[in-house]
């Protein structure tokens, strides 16, 4: 067992030699592509049962890796010397595994983008209805993709960041994309108004509770609430003096801002926590079913 650790530690076999590394690397990557993509026709010969078995196994192993890393004791002295109280023998592999997921995520982004571009290319080529807008989308995509990729490469100092790139990127990103974000985000203010007007009616007990708490909090969180309670109604603003009787304490805690805050922290928090518990348990059960492929869900 110690042999293995030593071998891993030396890392020589995991690294290409310094000289002509680029050439070796290119060859290995090409080889990997041929090998893995060449495997596809082989996999294709499998009967449906075999295919399902592969998917189930891969799912289980991927889950097992992360589960084992979490559950195994961190100072597993039986097998490995206790070198670091914060990890077990799988922990060093967590970061690379996360990187693998990141890479697959980046490839998925390529897939999604490909789907988007394909749809609009088809619209444009086949002159479907409204194909002009598809052209708009494609043009802005191509321009922005070029600038964004160049900008990323410039950050890595692979290409030079000329003044044209800087200007053009800034106009499209800072003065167009970011402004569109802000505009779209602010639309919600209008929608929140129309939704509140339409939905907050005294129709049922539930709707009424929703309405009254929403209105209470809305007044309580703005200075108007303080104005009404402390200036108009003359309620005491400061906290109750120590040792005051119950009525005085009550008087000191029924200002609108205080009630709003109390509803937000004392009444909202436990309801939210109960939902969180339910969601957590539901998610955990789902995770177990997916891990063991107990559910014919999406795969």
């Amino acid at each position: 067992m110690h042999m293995l650790t030593n071998l891993m530690a030396q890392q020589t076999i995991w690294r290409l030699p310094e000289e002509s590394r680029i050439l070796f690397a290119t060859l290995i990557v090409l080889g990997a592509f041929v090998l893995i993509l060449g495997l596809a026709p082989v996999l294709q010969t499998l009967p449906p049962r075999g295919r399902r078995a592969i998917i189930v196994t891969v799912t289980f192993l991927a889950g097992l890796f992360f589960a084992a890393e979490f559950f195994l004791p961190v100072d597993w002295t039986a097998i490995f010397p206790k070198d670091d109280p914060k990890r077990n023998f799988l922990t060093p592999a967590i970061q690379p595994a996360q990187n693998v997921l990141q890479i697959i995520g980046a490839l998925a982004l390529g897939l999604g983008t490909f789907g988007l571009v394909r749809l609009h290319l088809r619209n444009a080529v086949q002159r479907r209805a409204q194909w002009g807008y598809s052209i708009v989308l494609l043009v802005s995509f191509v321009v922005m993709a070029t600038l964004s990729i160049l900008n990323t490469l410039a950050e890595k100092e692979i290409v030079e960041r000329g003044p044209v790139l800087k200007r053009a990127f800034s106009i499209l990103f800072d003065y167009t994309l970011v402004q569109l974000d802000a505009a779209m985000f602010s639309l919600i203010a209008f929608y929140i108004f129309s939704a509140a007007y339409r939905a907050f009616r005294i129709r049922s007990i539930e709707a009424s509770i929703l309405m009254f708490t929403a209105m209470l909090v809305m007044i309580g969180v703005v200075p108007l609430g303080a104005f009404i309670s402390y200036t108009l109604l003359g309620l005491p603003e400061a906290g109750a003096p120590e040792g005051a009787n119950f009525l005085t304490q009550l008087e000191h805690s029924i200002g609108l801002p205080k009630i709003a805050n109390w509803v937000l922290t004392q009444l909202n928090a436990p309801a939210q926590r109960a939902i969180e518990f339910g969601v957590g348990i539901g998610g955990l059960a789902m995770a177990i079913r997916l891990w063991l492929s107990l559910e014919r869900g999406v795969t």
């Binding site: 970011v178 974000d181 209008f190 007007y197 005294i202 200075p223 108007l224 303080a226 200036t231």
Partner: protein, 279 residues
């Protein structure tokens, strides 16, 4: 025939939502421009923030970290304006730093405008350090070697040649850090900045809730929450700034919504009453 024509109440109930949008828009524009003021009660975190800056001596150095851009303008801009106004009053020197290009541009323009009004000199009394892509790396770097980490200011001058930070080697030469931000940057400042530098925090209203623990533990010395906090701060400074205006508009938009909810319920009630009478 009578069933065809809508009563007033039915018309109110079925109002086209575009009217609501217009009313909200007009309402906000009006109360942004109108000089109506609603007094605010100053909350303890804001008071603490104010007291902390009051302790500054002329010439003390303050680092402002400004990471907001267009979408949280209404909450962060009033904070930044109020803070800079107070710092100029105390004759403190300050430098600004951002984590991305948009927040750099927006904070630089704003600081330029506010300082020009009061005759504060760029380079002498304040400077903008541009943006750093990685905040953790930048803070760690500034602690050991500030001019070497920042290299140039936003105008391309070498930091070591800027009079405002003449002789400053490290972030620990600063008196305080003020984080004006819509995102979770304050734990980073708390974790990595030197212990002798006090940290003040200007979050948006959504982010404020999470910061109370830091406030309790003294890791943050004061906090201005969103536009509301800025209004309270302006009251302490006795100026009428953006915070007051924005908070006015927010308050009255809340009033508008509540009035319309009540109106809707009243109309529903009257409509039912009418139908019962007719049917």
């Amino acid at each position: 025939m009578q069933a065809r024509t809508q009563t007033l109440w039915q018309r109110i109930l079925g109002i086209d939502r575009r009217w609501l949008y217009l009313i909200l828009f007009v309402n906000i524009v009006t109360f942004l421009v109108a000089p109506i003021r609603m007094p605010a009660s100053v909350s303890p975190p804001v008071q603490k923030f104010h007291d902390e800056i009051e302790k500054l001596q002329p010439g003390d150095l303050v680092m402002i970290s400004s990471n907001w851009s267009a979408s949280t303008l209404a909450e962060n801009q009033p904070q930044l304006e109020a803070v800079i106004t107070h710092l100029m009053r105390k004759q403190a020197r300050f430098t600004i730093i951002s984590i991305e290009a948009q927040s750099r541009d927006i904070s630089y323009r704003l600081a330029e405008r506010v300082t020009k009004e009061k005759g504060y000199q760029y380079g002498e009394q304040w400077a903008h350090f541009g943006f750093v892509p990685n905040l953790i790396v930048a803070i760690k770097g500034m602690v050991t070697d500030l001019p070497g980490t920042i290299k140039q200011d936003v105008r391309g001058t070498e930091v070591s040649k800027l009079p405002v930070v003449q002789g400053v080697k490290s972030l620990s030469d600063y008196k305080m850090v003020i984080d004006v931000t819509p995102s979770g940057t304050v734990p980073i400042w708390i974790s990595y900045s030197p212990k002798n530098v006090s940290i003040l925090y200007c979050p948006t209203s959504v982010m404020a809730a999470e910061a109370y623990t830091y406030l309790d533990s003294g890791q943050i010395k004061g906090m201005i929450t969103g536009a509301k906090g800025a209004q309270e701060y302006e009251q302490l400074l006795t100026v009428v700034g953006l915070g007051t205006r924005f908070m006015n508009a927010i308050s009255f938009s809340h009033v508008l919504i509540i009035v319309f909810i009540l109106l809707g319920n009243f109309a529903m009630f009257m409509n039912r009453l009418q139908q019962r009478r007719e049917g």
